[in-house]
Symmetry: C2
């Protein structure tokens, strides 16, 4: 009766939210959550930042702030970006209410109903959902264990109907959700060139980039684009404190070309006026305290141990049943059931065994790989639980 803009289908990722009801079940072991580990928040450090922020300038915490974000926080973010190899000015940064809002703002200014949008597949479900809500026509882009297959994408773009010009391409190039894959340097450069050639905005979503526990660090695509004249006009970078400080602050940021930043600011004004100044001031004091540089290695080391436990357990308990992609960091292992089995079917029996994960189809735009599944090791409380969880998966596999 209300005449909504879009029919309400089951939202992308609703299979994931369905799983939430099992999280609190006594004895449940979860590989499902996409949340960072609550045991690894720097509670004392963030608490100190909160106290410093409020006691030094309560009005800055309580009053409306700039739509673009606090200049001091933006400068602290620029220093972080500089360490990642990306050099920009304060005017190029917008503080967003989580990086999710950055994507939302970009979609608002760029994507009209029916517009073509490229998206890596499998992909982060809330990105798929945000694009669907805007009425985008999604074109999935093939990935392998190293992220987007740039040759395949090039062929795909060359074969497009000349009337189709994709507005943007969405990717998480480092420790992707759900695959854990990391795009190598050569592909990053090629992707930046492709964006310029085909004039689409390349969205580099980078929440996990600092969580590397093995292998050599690779710069953001935005840094590669800087070295190619004209390419940085086509790259929008989203960063976030959610996985390295705390999601509860809802502090993310965008780094974009001036014409895009200008319009995103108008969209931000109409979306929430500004990101919580209380959260911004806390984030600023935390970043200025220098504790992040000490704390990120603590998170990384813990995640490495949990990943090591998960991979050992998979090799020990289910070597003939489950294959997986080896990540170099992040929070996720992307696995496949051998022998044509479906992860959605297995989940029912896994729940009986008190273990859960996210079936892979939640991450697909179309033609899902029914065998796939995402195992999150980040939120596992300890190595013993990880082993026990995989042992239960083995029982679930045996119970068909």
């Amino acid at each position: 009766m209300y005449n909504f803009t879009e029919p309400l289908k089951a939202p992308q990722g609703s299979a994931i939210r369905e799983l939430f009801k099992y999280l609190g079940r006594p004895g449940m072991i979860s590989f499902a959550g996409g949340y960072p580990s609550k045991d690894l928040f720097d509670r004392a450090g963030i608490g100190q930042a909160l106290e410093d922020a409020y006691s030094s300038d309560p009005v800055a915490c309580l009053q409306y702030g700039d739509t673009a974000g606090s200049p001091a926080l933006r400068r602290a973010i620029l220093r972080l970006m500089n360490d990642r190899g990306v050099t920009r000015d304060v005017d190029d940064v917008i503080v967003t209410t989580g990086s999710q809002q950055g994507l939302d703002l970009l979609i608002k200014i760029l994507v009209a109903p029916g517009d073509a949008v490229l998206i890596e597949e499998p992909a982060y479900p809330a990105a798929i959902q945000a694009l669907r809500l805007a009425g985008a026509r999604l074109i999935p882009v093939r990935t392998d264990a190293q992220g987007i297959d740039v040759d395949a994408l090039t062929a795909q773009l060359e074969a497009l109907d000349p009337g189709t010009r994709p507005k943007l391409l969405y990717t998480v190039p480092t420790f992707a959700n759900p695959t854990g894959a990391t795009l190598p340097a050569a592909r990053r450069e090629a992707l930046a060139r492709l964006a310029m050639r085909f004039r689409f905005v390349l969205v580099e979503d980078d929440p996990y980039g600092e969580l590397r526990f093995t292998g050599e660090s690779v710069k953001p695509i935005a840094a590669f684009a800087d070295a190619i004249p004209g390419a940085s006009d086509w790259v929008v970078y989203f960063g976030s404190l959610s996985k390295i400080v705390a999601p509860g602050l809802r502090i993310g940021w965008s780094i974009a070309p001036p014409a895009i930043t200008r319009r995103m600011l108008v969209a931000k004004q109409t979306s929430d006026l500004c990101t919580s100044p209380l959260a911004q001031e806390t984030a600023r004091h935390y970043l200025e305290s220098g504790r992040l540089a000490e704390h990120v290695p603590v998170i990384v080391q813990a995640y490495r141990k949990r990943y090591d436990a998960l991979s050992s357990a998979l090799r020990q308990f289910v070597p003939d049943d489950i294959d997986y992609v080896v990540p170099q960091g992040g929070m996720f292992v992307w696995a496949r059931l051998k022998g044509g089995r479906h992860s959605t079917d297995l989940l029912k029996r896994a729940i009986e065994q008190n273990v859960i994960y996210v079936p892979g189809p939640a991450f697909y735009v179309r033609d899902p790989d029914e065998s796939s599944m995402r195992l999150s090791f980040a939120a596992a409380p300890g190595e013993a639980e990880v082993f026990e969880g995989v042992r239960r998966l083995k029982l679930a596999l045996a119970s068909r």
Copy 2:
């Protein structure tokens, strides 16, 4: 080159943001700000709430939270709404990142490019801008000193082309921005019936409702709709802590029919995942502390004094030049220059005299009243400054 969804015109309200640069000028007296007074934040009470929230449950402050908002905060909001005469269940409330986000979510699910939308005129600029960004076809609705002229609106709706069904009507019925007008009870009931009859969603934006300093309190339209079978299906209410606690928390809420709430939640998930749990926990502890009931009268009394000073000064200094609407609360006086003078022209001379206000045209969709101007008394630091500000307006008027 990016092929944006909409051409970037000067955003609605950009005239207001233009004025910001004068705010810091030494000796400037501002009637321009739409901000609550920074001197009236309950700094100690909010500080205590912050401390209580973080020390009692740091993980709740730091981790992701429910998309709909913390259940405890939603219950506290329901108690507040109950005091306003509106009774609902916890599932009817979404905590939003300011009430601006509530409007943004509703527009996302309801307004497609080209859709007709009714909006009171003059209106809050960020509402106009949000609707424009969504490509809405705006139909202004006439107001008088008591808000929307419901008879005129009825005639307007009856005269609409049968193919035009407005998706929604936006109004601030209590102490409106910019007019300060308050819709009387009979018009509230009539408006609720009209929404039902013409099947548009009536958006009741209510950030100022508790700031009454004279006259009898009138319930929200949502409460009137509850007494008319079927009418509450057509009313969406937005509340906010920005004007009674602090804007820096970015805590607002929606109260909507279930089918609308369900879709707004999907839109919220893709907009920012959840409102900052740190801000939510702080708001919850503040509301549970009971200090709000003691603090709102402090704000109201201060605003009443500032309004009294402004109206005395207008009568004393410029009785033959400026007419104004008498508000019963809120933060604004809506004034008109007599003799066909334009408020935009006067502003240039006002700036020379070190006083600013917002020219009325910023609040119009079309055909602005060029004589109109918004004078905010909320942020004036004291009665002496108010008198001095109006004396300067008189000088500006004389300097033509």
